[in-house]
Symmetry: C2
Subunit: 352 residues, 2 copies
């Protein structure tokens, strides 16, 4: 391992174009030995971002071998798993293989960890051609190596939970943490608890966001889901006050569905549907003076900005930041204290 | 004029695809007579969104006739001036020609108005082929007709200001209003006034955002500009506490420039640079626990979301909503009370 210190945000790994941050780079250098403040991870598994996997699945007509070849090709070309169409990545799981003496990440050789920074900025090599993956799931068995910078985030995997379950929770742990913060700030500012609607409330980030809103004592919670199957699941789990069915890309239908249980719209609307075109429905479903948090990577910035303006909607719109301090621990605490979350996540694990 | 009422948000004008809001539509119907709650405007002038004009200018190598043909072609095809590449539009100025009896907009026939909703959702026909426009400026003399829905926003043009000046102020009036609100909320939440950095502080939305931060008594204001010319202008006008020079697309340089005057970064960073790639610089320039407002339509949602996560940056990121109640009046009050704003806007008018 080199004793040369390096950029805490990984500038020394950028091959092209010069001068940009690793996430904006076309190509990273995943091969050079770790610097004195870096950590080397032996990769076991990748967890692809939902929007990225969906795009690959559609582009290759669901052909698993073609999807696998596409992922191998992207990583070989870019030195990271950064889907060039969606701009999104995912996360990984592995074992710490080497820790530079100047690393601030408090990791030890042999620790089993998940990275909580995106694959779009994580230098990565694949050494097995993803031979153990059928291409038909977001969870990708993988042999390879990844590098963490000084200012990366990695969480140790709990001994008492299956890896897949922890990974699934960590993957979306920014959503409940930010939802909780916005609920708290609304109460501090307005003097009452907000009503909360979650579009895509039956999914991973959606169910955790609902659990966070309940934990922070939201005035009322409503899940917007796409069909009876999801509605029945949520009603059975009793995670939420109300469940309504609407296509989140149908703005008028979404707003009308939310209004049936929260007249005038929600004080906080959380968008967890990973398909394009949910911006207008979220805006129309939100009360004047309310807030929308967009967690979907399929969100279009100009569509959101111009949509609110065009609807003369006085709503604050927040870009869902995947990082809020304490996010991993908060999400794991919801898994451990909210039976519906464990049940819904375990059902997904089985389905995968 | 028809006596049939209609959708307040213009759903009845959407030709394709079915069921979407006007802003998301590929094509609108600009020809049908106004409904009972609509307003018909005789158009005098279009003001193209800066990102849209820049894209057209680049795509056509600065050839004015080709740029003009492109705009005429977009409006003929889409029934609105909605740049298909940037997703952005602009605004227009004109005279009220007909007011439906059910319109809530409080307009009268003969009023000179500017629309404050985007051209991306305003039904528009052009009747003169833009013959009076040389294609070389964002301000487009135009004969045509536009329709306002019940839930549109239009501002009467002041009698005591030139139209071009009012239009230029209205075009970006969402920025100072939202900046002022975020400054106020920071003070309420944290108990002190925030420091404020504005990327692109010499431009229209940037200078008005700085003026708003000063008016709301920000702790310190710093403008980040691209060159000595802009820096000299801002220093001469004394609008701001500090001026620093950096390329906003160079994340590291931008953060370092802001840190020279606000160690640790700004509590609020406002992005008013209409070019892609400013997300990371804005995030790095912002203090932990701070806020970024993105007003540029060139902002990429996934780049912002993944960038903050990848940098482990605890910043709140806000999509700049063009509508905040009272925005037009607030921006005009800054024009009238801050000599630097009038001076800088008038200089731009002359330059155009």
């Amino acid at each position: 391992m080199s004793t040369v210190p390096s950029s805490p945000i990984g500038l020394h790994r950028v091959l092209a174009p010069a001068g940009v941050l690793p996430q904006a780079a076309d190509r990273l250098d995943p091969q050079s030995p770790p610097r004195s403040d870096e950590v080397l991870i032996a990769v076991d598994k990748l967890n692809l971002d939902a929007a990225s996997y969906r795009q690959l699945h559609t582009a290759h007509n669901g052909d698993g071998a073609a999807i696998r070849d596409a992922v191998v090709g992207i990583v070989a070309e870019r030195g990271k798993m950064h889907n060039p169409v969606t701009g999104s990545g995912g996360m990984l799981i592995g074992t710490v293989e080497a820790v530079g003496p100047d690393s601030p990440l408090d990791l030890n050789v042999g620790d089993r960890v998940a990275t909580l920074v995106s694959l779009t900025l994580t230098p990565l090599t694949i050494t097995d051609g993803l031979a153990d993956w059928d291409g038909l799931s977001e969870q990708v068995p993988c042999s390879g190596r990844a590098t963490l910078f000084a200012r990366s985030i990695a969480a140790r995997l709990p001994d008492d939970e299956p890896d897949d379950l922890s990974l699934a929770v960590f993957d979306v742990c920014g959503a409940p943490a930010l939802t909780a913060r916005v609920v708290d700030r609304f109460r501090d500012r307005v003097g009452r608890a907000p009503t909360v609607a979650v579009l895509g409330g039956a999914g991973k980030s959606g169910s955790l966001s609902l659990a966070a809103a309940v934990e922070r004592k939201a005035e009322r919670t409503v899940a917007v889901v796409r069909d009876d199957t999801e509605a029945s699941l949520l009603k059975h789990e009793k995670l939420v006050d109300n469940v309504v069915i609407a296509d989140a890309t149908d703005a008028v239908a979404t707003a009308e569905a939310v209004a049936t249980v929260i007249p005038g719209g929600a004080d906080l609307t959380v968008v967890c549907v990973d398909v394009p075109g949910c911006e207008h429905g979220a805006i129309l479903a939100t009360a004047e003076g309310g807030t929308v948090i967009f967690f979907s990577m399929a969100t279009s910035f100009p569509t959101a900005a111009l949509g609110a303006e065009g609807l003369a909607a006085d709503v604050e719109m927040i870009v869902g930041n995947g990082y809020t301090p304490g996010h991993a621990g908060y999400a794991m605490s919801l898994l451990k204290t909210v039976p519906a979350i464990r049940s819904m996540f375990q059902a997904r694990m089985t389905a995968d």
